[in-house]
């Protein structure tokens, strides 16, 4: 919790955008009305992230109608971005102390788990992972939001390819 808030404060002050980038996937047809669920948000930060995820999913044009929650009838997609790790306390503090000019390298990892349910039964589950090295400076663009957008785009492409959800 402390390291997340410290890192967020540092990054927001530095002007590095943490907002999710639009996906590079555009749908040709829209799915039938279905629900997209995410685990209950643990903080206001999580709430904002969930709003962004829903917005980029809507912008792909793949969803005609996005409901929330589980339903015993119809299709539900569970999108889970938990797991993974960000910068530790040391890189964040050192980066803040050097005013984000000296690159302090750290490894990050982001995960995405998707699960498609029909009438309450699991049809298929998807798992993606992205990780790498980056540094806490203002002149190196943030790679975490791009990783998250990449994984969401890949999930949408896989859903389109699997043809498990009918189109409207």
């Amino acid at each position: 919790m402390i390291r997340i808030s410290l890192l967020t404060g540092v990054l927001l002050l530095s002007g590095c955008g943490t907002a999710l980038k639009p996906l590079d996937y555009k749908a040709e047809r829209a799915y039938v009305p279905m629900s997209v669920t995410m685990p209950p948000p643990a903080s206001r930060f999580d709430q904002q992230k969930q709003r962004e995820v829903i917005q980029v999913l809507r912008d792909t044009g793949a969803f005609s109608f996005i409901d929330g929650g589980y339903s015993k009838t119809g299709y539900s997609l569970l999108v889970d971005q938990r797991g993974g790790k960000g910068a530790g306390v040391l890189p964040a503090v050192l980066g803040a102390l050097t005013l984000l000019t000296v690159p302090i390298p750290y490894t990050y990892e982001r995960q995405l788990h998707g699960a498609l349910y029909k009438d309450g039964e699991l049809l298929k589950s998807y798992a993606y992972k992205r990780g790498g090295w980056t540094a806490t400076t203002w002149y190196i663009p943030m790679t975490e939001p791009r990783s998250e957008s990449d994984m969401l785009g890949e999930l949408m492409r896989d859903l389109d390819h699997d043809r498990l959800i009918p189109y409207q």
Partner: protein
């Protein structure tokens, strides 16, 4: 001087009450429940709140999520929410007075309910509610969104009951 201050304080506090443009509806008590409806809301983060507000009306036997099986009645809800905050200089001025200066806040919601059965549209309902409030330090903006949504849900429930499109629930 004391009387003047008391009167102006009372005027300010009374003027800080929340107003809604959609009138409050009285739901009659003791009537039979209407058959269960399956509700889908085009807003995943607030879908549960909208369904809970429909449950609170006490008009429907149950409000389920999802589309329902063939033969069930379903409601598709689309909602457009506009929040209106005062311009930034006023926000700064209010912050400078520790929010003792009231700020005019309004939420403008237009909601469409589409009542369907087996994919066939039975009736459309459309409501607009503008909730307005002068919010300040001791009387914040909490509860405005819920009050806004709750009025719309009650208006929909009363209209559905009056129109008789939904049958009453058959006794188990």
């Amino acid at each position: 001087m004391n009387r003047l201050m008391t009167l102006s304080a009372l005027a300010l506090l009374a003027g800080c009450a929340t107003t809604n443009t959609l009138p409050e509806r009285e739901l009659p008590d003791g009537k039979a429940y209407l058959t269960p409806i399956h509700v889908m809301v085009d807003d995943p983060l607030n879908a549960a709140q909208m369904r809970n507000q429909l449950r609170e009306t006490g008009v429907f036997r149950s409000v389920e999520a999802g589309m329902g099986k063939p033969g069930d009645y379903s409601v598709l809800i689309r909602s457009n929410v506009q929040r209106d905050m005062p311009p930034f200089p006023l926000l700064l001025l209010s912050a400078a007075t520790l929010f003792l200066m009231p700020l005019s806040v309004s939420i403008d919601t237009t909601t469409e309910f589409s009542l369907q059965q087996d994919g066939k549209a039975l009736k459309q309902y459309r409501y607009r509610n503008v909730t307005h409030k002068y919010s300040w330090l001791l009387d914040g903006m909490g509860g405005m969104q819920e009050q806004n949504g709750s009025r719309i849900a009650r208006a929909f429930a009363q209209d559905v009951q009056r129109d008789g499109v939904l049958p009453e629930e058959t006794a188990q």
